[in-house]
Symmetry: C2
Subunit: 305 residues, 2 copies
């Protein structure tokens, strides 16, 4: 694959199909009393699958060793998507963001009621860790433990849940750039970083220069993702976003646009793109190996929803 001929859509299509098929298989429709339907509704038929694609792209960049690492990559990819999906379900609930539209559909609590939405989120979090610990020896136990170690920390109070707590507490406050960056480093950055790190771990490379460089890539990408999110909240509309536009402004939430203005936020996003690419340049991996990661970064930064 040459840089000039690489088409992300060609790379993505089979991987997306693999991810959708695995999610479809692994979220049991027969879970009791409608819980399976609510869990499936929260995850299937929507979402860009950015985190799973990052897991697979990072694993390929570092080099999948054998069939077992391919299985582990797919499980890690789906597990992190379940964590992301559960966080959206809980985040949309009336006591949090009280949002009624997500991925162009009614949110889970609108469709199934708040109690079922709460349980579906809880069940999805548990299922993520279940996916990482298959009981058929398809994934080495050491890899299982390392993946759970990464994902539990990225999802918990040192990561996503902690970032959401800061977000809640900062409505109506004027944050400094450092405070805003810390909030997003936890709230959205931790899972994006974790996606890349899980990919490296399933490929069997833990203490390497590639791990450090890809971690730096993941961190910068996480920040860029949030800056672009803040930009889209003011420049896009609900139909394009598939969720309510302008809600950060309406809720008086601190954003990069509020902090630095629209033009400066857009320049910052471009600068972060350059930093992400520089991290890959320093990874010791070939340009060819990192093409999907670069293209995914461009997708994040140039997206319109």
């Amino acid at each position: 694959m040459q840089a000039e001929t690489f088409a992300l859509s060609d790379w993505m299509a089979p991987h997306l199909q693999q991810i959708e098929c695995a999610l479809e298989n692994w979220i049991d429709a027969d879970a009791p009393a409608g819980l399976g339907q609510a869990m499936r509704y929260a995850v299937l038929d929507g979402g860009k699958r950015l985190r799973p694609l990052l897991v697979l792209a990072a694993a390929q960049a570092v080099g999948l060793q054998d069939e077992s690492s391919g299985v582990a990559a797919l499980r890690a990819a789906c597990a992190i998507e379940l964590i992301h999906a559960y966080s959206l379900v809980h985040d949309d609930m009336p006591c949090m963001d009280n949002d009624v539209l997500r991925r162009g559909k009614p949110t889970v609590h609108v469709q199934f009621g708040q109690a079922q939405a709460l349980l579906a989120g809880d069940g999805l979090q548990a299922l993520a860790f279940e996916l990482l610990t298959p009981q058929d020896s398809s994934v080495p136990l050491s890899v299982q433990a390392a993946l759970v170690g990464l994902l539990s920390r990225a999802a918990g109070y040192k990561g996503m849940a902690g970032g959401q707590a800061i977000d809640l507490a900062s409505v109506g406050l004027a944050l400094t750039e450092a405070q805003l960056r810390q909030m997003h480093r936890l709230k959205t950055g931790a899972l994006l970083l974790c996606s890349v790190q899980m990919g490296v771990v399933v490929a069997g490379q833990v203490q390497t220069a590639a791990m450090l460089a890809l971690s730096r890539f993941g961190e910068v990408l996480g920040l860029a993702f949030q800056v672009v999110d803040d930009i889209l909240d003011v420049t896009s509309d609900s139909a394009t976003l598939g969720k309510t536009a302008g809600k950060d402004v309406a809720a008086d939430k601190p954003t990069y646009v509020a902090l630095m203005g629209l033009a400066q936020a857009q320049a910052f996003a471009r600068e972060l793109r350059a930093q992400a690419f520089a991290a890959l340049d320093e990874s010791g991996l070939s340009a060819e190996q990192t093409l999907p990661l670069r293209a995914l970064a461009d997708m994040v930064i140039q997206r319109d929803n």
Copy 2:
């Protein structure tokens, strides 16, 4: 230790101290924006610690091999208590049971608001899996993976979360005994069974007669726990229970007392005690080894709160 001289309180005191101290250390007060306070409030200073004590008693019954298995036992004990605690936080929320009193204190959402309660529950679930995957090689990776495998399944849609969904769906319905048993097998039974199984796993015994017998003990104990819970809901008062008495009746929830009457439910609890003890008799373990498990079973069945 002889059966006639065994005092559960003597066995429990040092173990409870160990559990409380570990929970105190492992739930970080510095978690961002008040999240740490809410998580600590949900777990510390209350609770009978039945599940952690079962983990430790099962591990001792089978035989702890070395220092590493002692560390693993304590981590497993605390992890399952975090799952239990998070389920109570979410269960008490207005969209679920809407309860304001728990362990004699205002519930988490009353004290910290619904959004923080939701996040605290989410953060506690993630922390449970973090505790099971220490990154300092104190617990073998194979044991870490096995413990996560057990706990994620017991907490998720095949266990606790699934049972809660059935519970939600069955308010106002007349369940058969088989349906009621299935609901409780998942809702409360799965975690109690998991406690015993985790204890066996940390002691390094997986595919053994002891595992089968102790699993049978855990299943019967889980059922007995619920039957006694239903009995106490009608025979006790809120001050003794530390939570609102009579709420099952008020909410028109199916219970063993509603199904079979009070006297019959009490006889059923006695029968289950005999079954639990019979399972231990068949475990191949000595009477001395299983004394703490027997005493904990008696505590469950003869408790008044």
